[in-house]
């Protein structure tokens, strides 16, 4: 390196290599910011499209009446399927979480968590094939089969979510219960579950938001239905929103598209409200737990 003569009049801004490095860093920063902007913009465009196209279809008749006019039966059908699915998945999910947090040793914990993660990562169409083989093949499509399929999708989400909050329950509470001679099952029912309830509900609501829009399994196990009225009989195929949107989207019929946008708006609104609500609750209960 040559000795550079000190020049008191030189500006105090970086020059040469440093300047190049700083510019590059600035560019990288703007790139990262741009990426975030793009993602939010895509979300905005999708929701905007659904809202604008869907709003014109929306009316009281649309929400309550049957097929040619509205999507009433499909709304009820989706609600029923998701309700039954959650009634199946939530108890099992919470019990799995309890097993993981209260009983399982290290090895069992790793294995069951791995199982849950694999189940969570499984393409939903495969779960559809499975349920088709188990409950539909040689019989008939049914809302019950759809509910079981959605329950399998919800199970790992509820179990993992609940397990995370159960781990947050302070060990001192368990020790306090033990010290008072309280038996394990009473501790679990009276102490641990109540204090983790908020988190369990959050996980369940998130799972419901996911299940409500799940389409692939329903196409295989609950797609041939009469969309004019809602029978409430879970033993036969019942109308539901996701399959309806899918089928309308496959026909090139502008009127059908309008109805699909309307149904899409109902579904997206439900999902956004539930998942945002669950997130808000999650943030609150987390603050409460950690304080």
């Amino acid at each position: 390196m040559s000795v550079v003569a000190f020049d008191p009049t030189a500006p105090l801004t970086p020059s040469g290599n440093l300047r190049r490095r700083q510019i590059f860093s600035r560019l990288a920063e703007s790139g990262a910011t741009l990426a975030a902007v793009v993602a939010v913009a895509v979300l905005g465009i999708v929701i905007y499209s659904v809202a604008v196209h869907g709003a014109s279809a929306l009316s009281l008749d649309f929400l309550t009446k049957g097929a040619p006019i509205g999507i009433g039966p499909a709304i009820l059908g989706t609600a029923l399927i998701v309700l039954v699915a959650t009634a199946i998945a939530m108890p099992i999910g919470v019990l799995v979480a309890l097993y993981l947090s209260e009983f399982a040793g290290r090895r069992a914990t790793t294995q069951i968590r791995l199982t849950l993660d694999l189940l969570n990562g499984l393409p939903s169409i495969i779960i559809g094939l499975f349920i088709f083989k188990m409950l539909v093949d040689h019989r008939q499509q049914s809302g019950f089969a759809a509910a079981v399929a959605l329950a399998i999708i919800e199970l790992p989400m509820i179990a993992r979510g609940s397990q995370e909050v159960l781990l947050l329950v302070p060990g001192s509470m368990r020790e306090a219960a033990d010290a008072l001679g309280v038996s394990r099952w009473r501790t679990v029912l009276k102490v641990i579950l109540p204090s983790a309830l908020g988190g369990i509900v959050t996980a369940t609501v998130l799972a419901i938001a996911r299940a409500a829009g799940e389409t692939a399994p329903l196409i295989l196990v609950c797609s041939v239905f009469d969309a004019r009225h809602f029978s409430g009989n879970i033993g036969e195929a019942i109308p539901n929103i996701p399959v309806m949107i899918f089928e309308l989207s496959e026909e090139a019929n502008p009127e059908g598209f309008a109805r699909a946008w309307g149904a899409g708006l109902v579904l997206v609104a439900f999902i956004l409200v539930t998942s945002l609500g669950a997130r808000a609750m999650h943030a609150r209960s987390k603050r409460k737990m950690s304080s």
């Binding site: 860093s25 990288a28 920063e29 990262a32 910011t33 990426a35 975030a36 793009v38 993602a39 895509v42 979300l43 999708v46 929701i47 499209s49 099992i92 019990l95 799995v96 097993y99 993981l100 209260e102 069951i112 791995l114 199982t115 993660d117 694999l118 189940l119 969570n120 990562g121 499984l122 939903s124 169409i125 495969i126 779960i127 094939l129 499975f130 083989k133 188990m134 399998i152 199970l155 790992p156 008072l180 001679g181 038996s183 394990r184 099952w185 829009g213 389409t215 692939a216 295989l220 041939v224 996701p242 949107i245 989207s249 699909a260 579904l267 997206v268 999902i271 956004l272 998942s275 945002l276």
Partner: protein, 328 residues
């Protein structure tokens, strides 16, 4: 619990205590048993899924064997089935999604963990995650009516004009349904998954190491390049694999925009099909047992690929010590 000497001597109280003890013993056993049963059920489900899907594929497996994987013929009317072109379509669309999505998602992760002010982060992070909450059927419907026309009229001609010398960017077809459009939709699905995992990874990089690099005169990019990315590389790879798994298995949105083509072409702007999309598209209308079995065979292939990519992601995560972060 009061245990005064008088109460201890009282036979009725003693009986009560015994009853309670017995109830506690039974309750403990019962709770343990029920919890264990639930955990075993979860494990049994995944085994049953594997068994049933492979069992359903039985007729097709015995008829076509492993040649199914390379055979590109798919003609239900003639009883000829092969997964070749579908494997091709799955690979191309998923890798395109990963190639486009992973860098964007990692950049978002960096923005959310290192750049964004706390207030902005609190808004943008949930919004990015909401992108994952949009049902695929709606994303696909939007893809048909909004994205595909735009891609067909603007992006495809432009790419063909500027990069047409590469066979990937052939002449645009009559509609916007193409592997390219499917790849874009999958990109949108991959981004939130990879972004939220990599953000958590970046947040876990110790602050003082980054500050140390900064104190040595590193610019922000150099801190990322020299400290943040190297220490989280394995986790980022695992996150990308999970994103890839999502893209591979997506059925609905892809079947809506990919155009259900059945041949292998170099151009991304041609129609194509993927394993999952073919199942969603043809299963409801499948009449012959062989057709159904072949669709189950596709499912079995998908299952194996999905499980492998997922296990590989878990293994990388665990091997390099990010298990807790990657396993969501």
């Amino acid at each position: 619990m009061s245990a005064s000497p008088a109460a201890l001597r009282d036979p009725r109280a003693a009986r009560r205590r015994d009853r309670r003890k017995r109830a506690d013993r039974i309750g403990d056993r019962l709770l343990y048993g029920v919890c264990l049963a639930a955990a075993l059920l979860a494990a049994a489900v995944i085994v049953a899924i594997g068994y049933q899907v492979i069992h359903g594929a039985g007729p097709a497996i015995s008829k076509f064997g492993l040649g199914f994987l390379v055979d590109t013929n798919w003609q239900p009317n003639f009883g000829e089935f092969g997964a070749g072109s579908l494997l091709f379509g799955t690979a191309v669309s998923s890798f395109m999604a990963l190639l486009l999505g992973a860098p964007i998602a990692i950049a978002i992760g960096l923005y959310l963990s290192l750049l964004a002010p706390a207030g902005v982060r609190g808004v943008v992070a949930p919004l990015v995650e909401l992108l994952a909450a949009i049902p695929s059927v709606i994303l696909g419907f939007w893809g048909i009516l909004v994205l595909a026309p735009f891609v067909h009229e603007k992006i495809e001609p432009w790419l063909h004009d500027t990069l047409g010398f590469i066979p990937l960017f052939g002449p645009p077809q009559t509609t916007g349904s193409s592997i390219f459009t499917a790849g874009l939709i999958l990109t949108i699905m991959v981004i939130p998954i990879v972004a939220s995992i990599s953000r958590d990874l970046f947040l876990a990089v110790p602050r003082d190491v980054q500050d140390g690099a900064g104190a040595l005169g590193a610019t922000r990019w150099e801190v990322v390049r020299g400290v943040v990315l190297p220490s989280t590389a394995s986790g980022v790879v695992a996150a990308s694999l999970l994103g890839l798994g999502r893209a591979l298995g997506e059925a609905i949105a892809v079947t809506q925009v990919i155009g259900a083509g059945s041949s292998i072409k170099a151009s991304l702007f041609e129609t194509g099909d993927t394993l999952a999309a073919r199942i969603a598209n043809q299963f409801p209308g499948a009449l012959t047992e062989l057709h159904k079995a072949s669709l189950f065979y596709l499912g079995a292939i998908l299952l194996v690929i999905g499980l492998l990519s997922n296990l590989f992601a878990q293994w990388i995560g665990r091997r390099f010590g990010y298990a807790g972060k990657v396993a969501r």
